[in-house]
């Protein structure tokens, strides 16, 4: 393929390397470093004039630093006369702050819509196209004025379930909160299995939530599905609830495995058979700390999306199929 360059930010070099290998290319030379006053410095090491540039950076780890680095790289490529700059962001930062609805003390606080701000910043820095995966809410596509491709991890998740859960035909898919029900039913329709959901009941304003299971999981294999695992408080409570309601085994499948704070210790103490995440966020450290974590590789989705976007082919094939 000609006229294409792929650069990697410092957030997830491993994934970028895999993506480049799938495409049969070498990663572009770029030097990212910090000055002594912690300011980010980016130098593109090769010519990008007239090229189709893809910058792979995930919103994980030191999110603000990585976001700033991405913005600076996009701007650098743009002013170096790249013909088109696409930002490939497997885990979109600030995606959970996408509406003005945080309630503290029962009042609607003056919360910003940070996802909109990030969208504005990406557009202003010069991005022409965004490729991302499993956005927290698909409406975030509308925050941009440039095209956004929101890829789905669903085909990979379905493939994992069929290969690794022995009796998946008799399993039950569970949503850990009422908001994720739509995501879960889309998977149950593909697999032809049933679903259940867990909803929280708050007794009083500051009391601990009680979780109520709606649906029957007795003697079944339960698979919890959600888009993010951050502190893992919700899914660990959900797993306890499912075991006490009679489930045989509990799996958890989450697209973005952030695992911050006490997450790893919570997982190790909880009764999961396996926790499956994609490698949209680097997982080497987490896999070492917990044997229950398994990783689905999504580099071929991103590689295929990049290839198709560059060649001007349709990307929608990826919404239903796992590329090889």
């Amino acid at each position: 393929m000609s006229n294409i360059k792929i650069f990697s930010g410092s957030s997830h070099q491993d994934l970028s390397q895999k993506v480049a290998e799938h495409l049969g290319l070498e990663l572009g030379k770029v030097v990212t470093k910090k000055f002594s006053n912690k300011e980010t410095c980016v130098e593109i090491g090769e010519s990008v004039r007239g090229e189709d540039v893809y910058i792979i950076q995930s919103g994980c780890g030191e999110i603000n630093d990585n976001l700033m680095e991405l913005l600076i790289m996009i701007s650098a490529c743009k002013i170096a006369s790249a013909s088109r700059v696409t930002a490939v962001i497997p885990c979109f930062p600030y995606a959970r702050q996408d509406k003005k609805d945080k309630y503290t003390f029962g009042f609607q606080s003056r919360a910003p819509i940070s996802a909109k701000l990030v969208a504005n910043m990406l557009s202003v820095s010069g991005a022409d196209h965004i490729i991302t995966m499993d956005l927290h809410a698909s409406q975030i596509q509308g925050f941009f004025d440039i095209p956004v491709d929101n890829l789905y991890a669903e085909p990979a998740v379905l493939q994992w379930i069929k290969e690794h859960v022995p009796d998946w035909k008799a399993s039950i898919i569970v949503s850990p909160d009422a908001g994720g029900t739509e995501r879960v039913t889309s998977i149950t329709d593909c697999l032809n299995v049933e679903f259940a959901l867990i909803h929280k009941v708050r007794k009083k304003a500051n009391e601990i939530d009680r979780m109520v299971l709606v649906g029957d999981v007795k003697d079944r294999v339960a698979i919890l599905i959600d888009d993010m695992a951050d502190t893992c408080g919700t899914i660990c409570h959900a797993a306890d609830k499912l075991i006490s309601a009679g489930a045989n085994k509990v799996y958890a499948i989450l697209t973005h495995g952030i695992f911050s704070g006490p997450a790893i210790s919570r997982i190790n103490n909880a009764c999961f058979e396996a926790i499956v995440v994609t490698n949209s966020i680097p997982q080497e450290k987490n896999v070492k700390q917990s044997t229950k974590i398994q990783v689905i590789d999504i580099s071929m989705f991103l590689a295929e999306a990049i290839r198709r976007t560059h060649n001007g082919e349709s990307v929608s094939y990826l919404f239903n199929h796992v590329p090889l």
């Binding site: 799938h22 679903f195 708050r202 349709s314």
Partner: protein
């Protein structure tokens, strides 16, 4: 007309006073208060809500004329098309203007009326133009779907260009739509009114269960269930409308693969999603079922859901929704179905449907809209209006 006016905040509402009373100012529009309320609708049914709001505020509706002008071609004998015309009959220079727009069946005309009036006010030097649009149109088209357009985003851009500086709306279909706008959006909630209706008008509501008609409504249903301390059930299955499908269902056949490093077997196609028959997750036997949603438009889904709930043992079925579009055959279908009552707010005019079907009841929400207008004009905090709202509502 509701049987009596429902006043949700019975105690401690700082400015509760009977309709029509004034508090210090005369009923005439005083230049000192510096705000005017206009209605951009051309039909009389739609200006009903605007009249109620202005009564509560103690001001008069601004003088303007909005009509569709038939645009005869030079040689045509019959009108070719109708263009919207707006004339503002009084000075608006330097004032805060609130445009109240209800969206009836004829959506595109209403949108055009709003845009034209907003631009007219902008070019007449109004200071701030605040749109009060209780039901925001095109809010269901807020995602990318099958190579379509995100119309809600387009509408937001158009409203910003036309001169709006602020929007007050009620129960947006998806809260993320707030991010489509470049100016502030106040998303009020009708749920306190609907909850009060449940507590006052449904005799044994403690034996009820809140039901979500489809998985996408589960979050809203849960917020009601939590505040009423009731259980939750979710329906899922075939008769659900297809738009809750995969958000971006673009599909193309795979093109010929160009040479890459790998080659080999193609993975088998995933089977197409078959919709299962309607299932109920949760137990509704021997209870009152309350279906909760934000928009009631095409009632076939609700009718099918009511059938299933009746079969599973629910003895009474209510439908509570904020926006009652109730289009086409809705009144007849509701009348013939197992639903006992359909309760909607007066954000959308539905007098004709009420005449056809006595099961439809109305809850008046003009109070919260009037209060929002007053607080925004006076620069006061709106936190009081969101007191009992949970995160999921």
């Amino acid at each position: 007309m509701p049987r009596r006016l429902l006043v949700p905040y019975k105690s401690g509402f700082p400015y509760s006073r009977p309709l029509g009373a004034c508090y210090g100012f005369s009923k005439m529009n005083v230049a000192k208060s510096g705000y005017r309320v206009f209605s951009a609708n051309s039909s009389a049914a739609c200006t009903e809500l605007a009249k109620r709001i202005t009564e509560r505020l103690g001001v008069e509706l601004g003088k303007s004329v909005v009509y569709q002008e038939s645009n005869r071609g030079p040689l045509a004998l019959t009108p070719v098309d109708s263009e919207t015309r707006v004339e503002i009959k009084e000075s608006v220079r330097g004032q805060d203007i609130f445009i109240i727009q209800t969206i009836p069946r004829d959506v595109n005309t209403a949108v055009m009326e709003l845009l034209v009036m907003a631009y007219a006010l902008k070019t007449s030097c109004a200071r701030n133009i605040i749109g009060v649009i209780p039901y925001f149109p095109y809010s269901k088209q807020c995602k990318m779907r099958k190579r379509g357009s995100i119309v809600c985003k387009l509408l937001a851009s158009m409203l910003a260009k036309a001169g709006l500086t602020h929007i007050i709306t009620m129960d947006l279909h998806q809260k993320e739509i707030q991010g489509f706008f470049t100016f502030p959006v106040d998303n009020l909630r009708a749920s306190p009114f609907l909850l009060q209706y449940i507590q006052e008008e449904i005799p044994d509501y403690r034996n009820a269960i809140i039901v979500a008609k489809s998985p996408s409504a589960a979050k809203r249903a849960q917020s009601y269930a939590e505040r009423l301390r009731l259980g939750l059930a979710v329906l899922h299955g075939e008769a659900q409308c297809a738009e809750s499908d995969m958000a971006d269902g673009r599909n193309s056949p795979p093109s010929a693969k160009s040479t890459t490093v790998h080659s080999g077997l193609e993975l088998p196609l995933l089977m197409a999603k078959e919709k299962p028959p309607i299932t109920v997750v949760g137990d509704v036997g021997g209870r009152i079922a309350i279906l909760v949603d934000d928009i009631v438009d095409d009632v076939e889904d609700f009718v099918a859901a009511a059938e299933i709930l009746k079969e599973r043992g629910a003895y009474k079925i209510y439908v509570m929704a904020t926006h009652g579009l109730l289009s086409a055959e809705a009144p007849r279908l509701i009348e013939e179905s197992a639903i006992d009552e359909v309760v909607v707010t007066n954000t959308i005019p539905h007098e004709i449907q009420k005449l056809q079907c006595p099961k439809i009841k109305t809850v008046d929400v003009s109070m919260i809209l009037a209060e929002a207008i007053r607080r925004i004009h006076n620069g006061e905090s709106m936190a009081y209006l969101f007191r009992n709202i949970t995160v999921d509502d």
